[in-house]
């Protein structure tokens, strides 16, 4: 059947909706955005001014690096929680417990990011549940505001992106034959040497796919960051939003967007080179 499909050319016919999709909704808009970033907002002339404005401003640059560092930190934190969880799900738990844990990972994503963020706001604000609990057990004697702190943003981001880290790692660990782990142990390996020499190298592609995805999601997050971090969360996407919506300067916003994209693609590319992973292979 497949050979027939391939030969008759029906293959590409079936793919057309998907390819149009990608072309019209992904490629064209981003090329257009790229073009806009070189146009002056007022005069409509070609200019590098939008970029100059970024590199000339301490504030923009600081927000940018802050965003990048937090995104990297959050990605690492997510990986540190996701890897052991994925390992236990794939290699240790029975079929039933495995299904329950997987469900518990997916379930939070069924709930609107918006509702989730509001639920957290309720939990973390000065008069919220956590503050109340801490006072009740006597750790602190006054209300504490957990909202609008950097830590809260980090927690929100790790939570939001957990699925995208765990699933690729589970997929890669699933293909690891259990007997490889036993063999390493049989030959005298212990927990750490087996992890280092057998399990992590095998899960490498999954870790890479997950980390890339999570890093990108964190870098570009807007809802979680602004709701939990407040209007002054100093996240770079806020600057982009402000340029587009508040200042109606889409050219400046486009330039910021291009800067963010370029940086992230570059970082991912460097990481791939350093860890000697091939993205296509990792997929």
């Amino acid at each position: 059947m497949s050979a027939k499909l391939k030969k008759s050319g029906r293959l590409w016919l079936v793919l057309i909706p998907y390819l149009l999709w990608i072309g019209v909704l992904f490629v064209i808009p981003h090329i257009k955005l790229f073009g806009l970033s070189f146009v002056d907002h007022r005069s409509g002339e070609l200019t590098l001014g939008n970029y100059a404005k970024f590199f000339g401003s301490d504030l923009y640059r600081r927000v940018f690096w802050r965003t990048a560092l937090y995104a990297i930190f959050t990605t690492i934190l997510t990986l540190l929680i996701a890897f052991p969880t994925a390992f236990i799900i794939t290699k240790i738990l029975g079929k039933k417990m495995k299904a329950i844990l997987l469900l518990s990972i997916v379930l939070p994503y069924w709930i609107s990011e918006l509702i989730r963020a509001f639920a957290w706001m309720v939990l973390m604000r000065e008069t919220g549940v956590i503050s109340y609990l801490l006072q009740a057990v006597g750790i602190t004697s006054h209300n504490i505001e957990f909202l609008y702190r950097n830590g809260t943003i980090v927690i929100g981001l790790v939570y939001t992106s957990m699925l995208f880290m765990i699933i690729p790692i589970i997929n890669s660990l699933d293909s690891l034959d259990d007997s490889l782990i036993e063999a390493a142990y049989d030959l005298g390996g212990n927990f750490w040497s087996t992890m280092r020499e057998v399990i992590i190298p095998h899960a490498g592609p999954g870790i890479m796919v997950g980390s890339t995805m999570v890093f990108m999601l964190n870098l570009g997050n807007y809802v979680t960051v602004t709701l939990l971090g407040g209007k002054n969360s100093l996240w770079f996407t806020e600057n982009i939003y402000n340029q587009f919506i508040v200042r109606f300067n889409q050219n400046q916003g486009a330039a910021f967007g291009v800067i963010l994209l370029t940086f992230s693609v570059l970082l991912v590319w460097i990481t791939l080179k350093i860890t000697k992973q091939d993205m296509a292979e990792a997929m």
Partner: protein
Amino acid sequence: MTQEIDVSVVNLTKRWGNLTAVNNVSFDVPKGSFFSVLGPSASGKTTVLRMIAGFETPTAGDMFIGGQRINDVPANKRPCNLVFQRLALFPMMNVLDNVTFGLRRRGGISKAEMERMANDVLARVDLKGLNKRKISQLSGGQQQRVALARSLVLDPTVLLLDEPLSALDLKLRQDMKLELKRLQARMGTTFMYITHDQTIALAMSDTVAVINFGKLEQVASPDILYREPATHFVASFVGENNRLNHGRVVKLIDDQTCQVEIGGLLSVARIGEELAPGDDIDLFIRPEMIHLQLGKQASGIVGQIKEINFDGAHSLVVVQLTESAIPLSINVKFQHTEQAPAIAVNDTVTLSWGRAAANAFRHIEPPTEGKE
């Protein structure tokens, strides 16, 4: 005998909830011998191996390697190594790194020394010069040898093998079978080999332990196992055998031989377990020990050829017995020597066999699924 014992298992039992996978198994593996554990799938043989290797914890019983109790020694400290069924070579490492993996875990060995040891063992398994190859670049037989080398380089007291030949294709399996036995003889390492393939167990082993439903049926040398099976199961599982159900013991001839009757026909047979006249028995007759003559002869049992299944070296001839009261058919392994008579389907033939060809055991109902 004052033979040194390398592996000793005493009253070993493993239960998973209600299921008893291994039931009170005891045996000794003499030093330097090739010892096989033979059983059908799900007989518990792999569980025995995994308990010795340290991947399962026994419910009861003790295990000793080189005289030392190993029940509480973790798997990575036991003086035994396992060759896995699907080999479990590390695909992310080359041949050399696979072989030195265990040495690196030991510490205190210089890199040059490790490489020397690895080269040494690789040469012994005929893999000289393939150090830098990736695992995926090796053929099935070469991977097999890397798996052996990886364990042998650690000089284990006993090498455990979990049917590593079953992944190979037929021709290669035949070759590796002999090669493995030669390697064992050369290295002098004690081998403990788990298999469901009785031809492998018989050909390679000094001693075979037959296990079924978690219980040990017989521990003996291959030829004893084949000629003097101790149980009904061993008689039916080890080697090809004709099984004639519902015979009857007529009389005991001596303490090893009896006369049996089946469908009105008489035969002598070895007594497999304690029997008394009148006992309901199953009779097992080895197909290759049956003498086939053309035509109706003075002595012997008369039948007619129903099928001839050619098999190269011999043919499996299916003979329907014509003078029995119940329908009985017997498979005869017919050797194509140059003196052998020419036979054809529907020929009348006479079969005869000696006492050693037939074994009698108390009747056991065959599994109801019949054809399985």
